[in-house]
Symmetry: C2
Subunit: 150 residues, 2 copies
Amino acid sequence: MRLRFRRATRDDVPAVVELLADDVLGSTRERGAIETYLSAFDAMTAEANNQLIVGVDESSTVVATYQITFISGLSLAASRRAQVESVRVAARLRGQGLGQQMFSDVEARARAAGCSLLQLTMNAARSDSARFYAALGFTGSHIGYKMYLD
Amino acid sequence: MRLRFRRATRDDVPAVVELLADDVLGSTRERGAIETYLSAFDAMTAEANNQLIVGVDESSTVVATYQITFISGLSLAASRRAQVESVRVAARLRGQGLGQQMFSDVEARARAAGCSLLQLTMNAARSDSARFYAALGFTGSHIGYKMYLD
């Protein structure tokens, strides 16, 4: 199956939230009201360097999603970074190479935005994904720290 | 010593680059021309959610820096994240609690921007920093993956 990747529209938000929740970690935490997610989509759209992408199948159904943020900075001789978050493929379609297609799209968008570094963090509990990222050519050189603010 | 933290201006860029290079990892990689860094600063300024912060001492000398990016998204019930990069304190001033002051400033800016999650990645080679982040209340729950694009 070949997916087509495009910028999400506001109409795609419910399908994206369904994908985020269709996940061993996401199932317990994606319980916001749809209005909350629509507001977040509007906030993303206002951040010009922050994009929600969807992957659609031949019937235009949303079956994959990721978020990509282009971050300029001074470090690493002023490298622009592309950061990927919230990567999901529909559970029924996993193991068919759609993740590779998604990361081809990530790389193309990152290069088009002038980025020389891709980065993402993965919950260390997702051991299957570790193999996936290593196979794509990522190096797990960093520790990802998180702190929730009350 | 109490530092004052403020948004960096274009005039601060050389001092920030010096701090980035004054580091076991940074010394080998911060070798760009100053014009490259100034262009990156202009690109950061154009990204309204992306800020370069400096910490200055009583004589207004830049002795610390970090970058903070506010990233809206749908995940985690539409949490806005504050991501920190490129954290540095001048080598001669390390071990005096300035890092804690810096992260108080990080937290204040993150809350003011409506963020409910702080995140950063640290090269796993920086074992001293691991203790520092744990003491601040961060959880090293994630693996940080990087891939350079040629």
